[in-house]
């Protein structure tokens, strides 16, 4: 009889334990974002800005938000990890569970298509009308982030992808007069550097090679043909694309040993081990900022920049933006955040710290110096093309397929297979 009792009570305890776990978990999720002690409502802002510079920019924007909206408190739901890999995986589970953050960061453009198709995002066209945003953002930008005439995100900043970073001293030593302007000049310069025994072109992990590919595609094809690649029915099998990919293969012959990520690759240029590196303009902050956050190098002497070969006059852009998920617990709070993110004040507070330029045309020019002044000037005058690796031109499945093909190419060096793979990826994913 006693054994009986013991067994029954253990069973009861474990069943109770189970339900308690379930209950506890539920409560926690319900509690975390919205309720707050002082009667204030929380606004859960989901981003991947945790690094030096970007976290400071977010904090600056947060301060403006909290000053303007005393009834809301800012809940920072940032997830660490470059270009949002881990953040996006977590976001995916949150969206599927129907517990979205109040607003989340995403690259403006095609990257958001999946969320839009799944019905996760609210149309923000009315917000654009209310704040007259279509007048302050460049028309081409508005066009490139519109999906069937609707806009689903508010771009906070603009980064440039097609930047050629180089070490002037290494170039001088190799007898290269200046930054190469065309692909042919680039290959010639790489050859000269190679003869001197330095690394001609530094690269990082595989995504940095896709990043390089987009600049080479743009430089070989020209802006219009490049942009046409992402329209429905585009021809990735054309001889022009073949030439571009052959250029890419040629350039890759000069690439050094792959580094762990983009920072060590950029550092090779800064340290004078390598001559060139093609990376987005977030590298500027890394080169320029004082140690801890950066390398503390002097611009124009320790490192210099130019548009990637063949891409002068085109701004291969990408942009971080904020969205309004359907079913956000604090929709009004999220809208208040979006208004700050869209405002001149918000963007001018965020961008100088983040090392990017504002998406708005009416920014305070004096805040942006050195590289950023160049970028701001080009942004207002250049043609625009959307980045592949950073979510503007292609949606997430398409990008995954392109990265896969580039990764396979690194093993096989087979241009034909690469082109076929890219063409298949386009057919499977273009819309």
């Amino acid at each position: 009889m006693r054994r009986w009792l013991v067994a029954a009570s253990i069973t009861m305890v474990s069943v109770l334990g189970l339900t308690a776990c379930g209950g506890g978990g539920g409560e926690q999720t319900a509690q975390s974002p919205s309720a707050d002690s002082g009667g204030k409502q929380q606004v859960e802002v989901f981003s991947w800005w945790t690094g030096p510079g970007e976290a400071d920019g977010l904090a600056a924007m947060r301060k403006i938000f909290e000053d303007k909206n005393p009834t809301y408190t800012f809940f920072d739901a940032a997830v660490a990890g470059g270009s949002g890999d881990k953040a996006k995986a977590l976001l995916q589970s949150k969206l599927q569970a129907g517990t979205p953050p109040d607003t989340f960061q995403g690259h403006a453009g095609a990257e958001l298509q999946g969320y839009i198709k799944a019905g996760n995002l609210e149309d923000l066209t009315s917000l654009y009308d209310e704040l007259k945003l279509k007048e302050v953002f460049p028309a081409q930008l508005v066009e490139q982030i519109s999906v069937e005439g609707k806009i689903y995100s508010v771009p906070v900043n603009i980064h440039r992808s097609n930047v050629l970073w180089f070490n002037p001293a290494v170039l001088k030593e190799a007898g290269v007069a200046g930054a190469p302007k065309t692909i042919e000049e680039f290959v010639a310069a790489l050859e000269k550097v190679k003869a001197k025994g330095k690394v001609p072109l530094s690269i990082g992990s595989e995504w940095t090679v896709t990043h390089l590919l987009e600049s080479v595609l743009l430089g070989s094809l020209g802006t219009d043909a490049y942009n046409a690649l992402f329209k429905p029915g585009a021809d990735w099998n054309s001889p022009q694309v073949t030439t571009a990919l052959q250029n890419f293969a040629k350039i890759m012959e000069y690439a050094g040993d792959p580094q762990d990520d983009w920072q060590p690759a950029a550092k090779q240029v800064a340290d004078g081990e390598a001559a060139f590196n093609i990376m987005g303009d977030w590298a500027y902050g890394y080169f320029h900022n004082p140690p801890e956050g950066g390398l503390g190098k002097k611009s124009k002497t320790d490192f210099d920049w130019a548009p990637a070969p063949g891409t002068e006059g085109t701004y291969l852009w990408l942009s971080d933006s904020f969205t309004l998920p359907k079913g956000a617990k604090n929709r009004d709070g999220a809208l208040a955040w979006l208004k700050v993110a869209a405002s001149k004040e918000g963007q001018d507070a965020f961008n100088p710290k983040k090392g990017s330029i504002p998406a708005r045309k009416d920014a305070d020019q004096s805040l942006y110096t050195d590289y950023l002044a160049d970028a701001l000037k080009d942004w207002s005058s250049n043609k625009l093309a959307g980045s592949i690796q950073h979510g503007v031109a292609v949606n997430q499945p398409w990008l995954a397929a392109i990265n896969e093909q580039v990764g396979l190419f690194l093993g096989t060096k087979d241009v034909k297979a690469l082109q076929q793979g890219l063409a298949d990826a386009a057919t499977a994913n273009a819309q």
Binding site: L18, K117, P397
Partner: protein, 293 residues
Amino acid sequence: MRRARTWLPGLLLVTPSIILIGVFVYGMLGWNFRLAMTDKHDEVSEGEFVGLQNFIDIWDQARWHLSVRHAIVFTVVFVLGALVLGWLLAFLMEKGIRGEGTFRAIYLFPMAISFVATGIVWRWLMNSGTDERAVGLNRLFDAIGLPQWQWFRDPDWGMAAMALPAIWQMSGYVMALFLAGFRGVPEELREAARVDGCNEWGVYRHVVLPLLRPVTLSALIILGHISLKVFDLIVAVSGKQIITDVPAVFMWVAVFDSHDPAKGATIASYIVLSVAIFVIPYLIWSVRKERRQ
């Protein structure tokens, strides 16, 4: 009533875990297999039943071949390496080394570390920079005049290098298993063999090793299933790069980057099946053995 009294308490005790395992292991497995047999290639679509189509289609993809090959190379090197090294360590310990307890602890410690931490350290150790750019092992090799390697970035043998951290981490555990096995061999048996004129090598060859077979098999199963599922170590060392792609990483990319649940489920099914090839014969074998006893 009397009968119920004998079996009911036992049943009540295990009921919670039967329910939990039923739902969270077998239920989920079943769900995964069902998903793998649909054409739910994005999160939105309903997914129609397509049978084994996904399981066949995946063999058309160059990346799948690559990741399977990587998994095989990794498994062979890791399992053999850990078995041999673990056995060797146990053998030395068994010979009555001084301070055995200390050594045992030292060799067992790596197992307490997570694969992620191991991976981050070994990413630095196995950095592929050479000569003046060398760090980690290449720096050491350079200093003592050994050839420097590309390590996990080597196109052909990268996955063999990737197995090194795993061997480092798990061979202590294998050592512990073997040591227990060695200790389980009765001294009388060895003495009997020696009396019969067996030399020391012969004692091991004909007496100890055959008695270690069950331990070896357990170690093989444990290492094999870890190896086929390996994910955290690869991601910590190299991220999700094709050059070190394995099925588990491919699965992650399929679900979270390609947004293709059916493909992810297909890869997951293949991983489960490949582990099952290891585990099921072992289960059958051990059930039979128990019956015999």
